[in-house]
């Protein structure tokens, strides 16, 4: 029997995936499971985007250009100009979700065995993409006590070696919801300038910034045109995760030309998804206003509910739709399994993501969970009530 590759063996299985059978079992027992474990919002995709697909007139669903449909890339450049990111359409490569943008970025710029530094906790799939590309992730730990702010420069500098190729950030952050300030982005700019590194910035939650705070994109750092790579996606902005359309953006022409070779091998990003993406650019402002108001209400409710529970610590996240909460439990992996399999309150239970999967050293997130506040307030209220009751009776409770 031929064997599996080392890379295949090393690919991380997410801790969330381990919980799936327990969630399915709970559903078989007719329990209501509130899914706070994944960033799949219940917000409607904009009508203008859905209409575009219902009115699809082509007779043959053809490949698009490997870099994406030109009219879409041009309109996307207009979208960026409106938010003060001045790029040409030729600096945009349409990808199959933000996921592919990250893969192309890593494969184009980092050799197997080389390193990227990522503030942790970080989006678990960065581990998967890095393993697939043969790249080593070096974490720099941010702390719940500091609300997950950017660690000081000195912490990055301790980790930079000959093998370091760049720094990856997600802003606003998944899983912490932290919104990096302009000053923090400029600090990162200084580091990559000093050591001639790439700065890879995943900005798929750009539109989700709260409390009057403004998003500051890495694309606005001056004099770092060759160092900056931005990854983007339509998934969250338009609540259209299933279309699998993202973008890789850089003013570094070698990066775009190299990524294009990877893009040509896979022929084209999804054509129907691009139709949706292009139409979604005409989404009225009223949609975003409603969505914003919905999320701010959800965040305020969720964070307040969590902090009211005895022994729970939850920073107030400035963006995205996640928050990391520290729970009064022995081990969040065990607790998340227990709440699904052993607990119910009014025949309900809750699925959360244990934070261990977001740290390279799982012990760092041992008492933490990520909560995606992607459900409507009534459901969030029931979910929080269920969590509070569960914490009261959990055998591994630790205050």
């Amino acid at each position: 029997m031929p064997s599996i590759s080392d890379k295949g063996n090393k690919m991380p299985a997410s801790p969330i995936r381990k919980l799936v059978p327990f969630a399915e079992e709970a559903k078989r027992k007719n329990r209501k499971v509130f899914h706070l474990n994944i960033g799949q919002p219940d917000i409607r995709t904009p009508e203008v985007a859905l209409e575009a697909i219902r009115n699809y007139k082509e007779k043959v669903i053809e490949y698009s250009h490997s870099a994406g449909i030109e009219s879409y890339r041009r309109k996307l450049a207009d979208y960026y100009k409106k938010i003060d990111i001045d790029i040409d359409y030729s600096e945009i490569l349409i990808t199959t979700g933000g996921s592919e943008a990250i893969m192309f970025a890593l494969m184009s710029t980092v050799n197997p065995g080389e390193e990227i530094i990522i503030p942790e906790p970080f989006y678990a799939n960065y581990n998967g993409f890095s393993t697939a590309a043969g790249v080593n992730v070096i974490p720099v730990t941010s702390s719940i006590k500091e609300n997950f702010a950017l660690p000081p420069i000195s912490e990055f500098e301790k980790l930079i070696t000959d093998k370091t190729r760049g720094i990856v950030i997600c802003n606003p952050n998944n899983p912490t919801g932290y919104l990096y300030s302009r000053k923090e982005i400029e600090t990162l700019g200084e580091i990559v300038r000093k050591y001639d590194l790439y700065l890879y910035s995943d900005e798929v939650y750009r539109e989700f910034c709260y409390d009057g705070k403004e998003h500051y994109s890495v694309m606005n750092l001056k004099g770092l045109e060759e160092n900056i790579i931005m990854m983007d996606s339509v998934s969250k902005r338009y609540s259209a995760c299933g279309v699998r359309i993202g973008a890789l953006i850089s003013r570094n022409k070698s990066v775009i030309n190299t990524a294009l070779k990877f893009a040509q091998a896979r022929l084209s990003p999804p054509s129907l998804g691009q139709v949706i993406g292009e139409a979604a650019l005409n989404t009225p402002d009223s949609y975003f206003k409603e969505v914003y108001e919905e999320y701010i209400e959800r965040r305020n409710f969720t964070v307040a509910a969590l902090n009211k529970m005895e022994g729970v610590i939850c920073p107030n996240p400035g963006g995205a739709f996640y928050t990391i909460a520290q729970l009064p439990v022995d081990d969040a992996d065990i607790f998340c399994k227990w709440i699904l399999s052993e607990f119910e309150y009014k025949n309900q239970t809750v699925m959360m993501a244990p934070a261990s999967g977001f740290y390279s050293n799982p012990l760092h997130g041992k008492k933490q969970v990520r909560i995606a506040y992607v459900l409507k307030i009534e459901d969030l209220a029931l979910a929080m009530e269920t969590l509070e009751e569960a914490l009261k009776v959990y055998p591994g409770r630790e205050i």
Copy 2:
């Protein structure tokens, strides 16, 4: 300025891509360019598939399961059962096009620096996927004189080393159109059994077999359940290349479980494409009958027209919609550029794929081109007439 990765530098740029500016220039001069260079058929996508998307009722375009929508996987298993391939839906992983199926297969089973053997000429993007996965392609050359039949076992055995992990075939073949016989597939089965290798079979052209010949799938080789990996796609079968939906199929549970980890990292294949793929399974037989009749007419016409041209040799392909022709020219790369940039006949010209890109040693295909007979007969007739006239006056003509 930070550098590009070695892999990025090594990624092959297709010889077809080099021709694109010349084709664009010809169009700017208002010349009609017949595209025989790419497998983008002009055949209509089945109405039942287009209707499914026009009738799309969901309000949120959500992620699907990472392995694909379960109802789609189950119906796909039924499709395979009907064509005598008996597999369970759990042995099917839905991928983003056949491209991703190949990437997942290689990354799951071959370590960087290890080798796969591929009969050449082969689909040029296998080079790209192999470079991306860090895998070395070892070609075994098939010959136009033998109609591109499978080279003898001894030729494979000469190339098998400790580093060999498997053999990749495409059946029916892109770019040759060759349809492997049952005996040839069984021969490949013997080799992989003897050396405990994987046999990766790209069967995306399964429905395109001519002259009463039947397709024999690797999935029907007995006792090789752990060794066989099939790649499939809806692109060609339903003329829906832009939906980017394929499948990785294996009875080897370790392979499927490993590939699923790569699939989880990228979250989900395109949801709308899966809606199309699932609906397309209800395509009436009459559609395939019409398509078959169209292609057999196109093939017969194209191959006859080519062989009538002085100095041209073209085998009669048993499947797919490609053929490789040997031309009386000094260098097909130069000729293909010349016909686009320097030649016109009745204000028309032709874009073909130089075969050099399908061989690891470009010299092997120096006088060959791949012709995709994906246009309607009237256009093929004009394209062949144009090619014939061009060959008469091409300065580098060699008989």
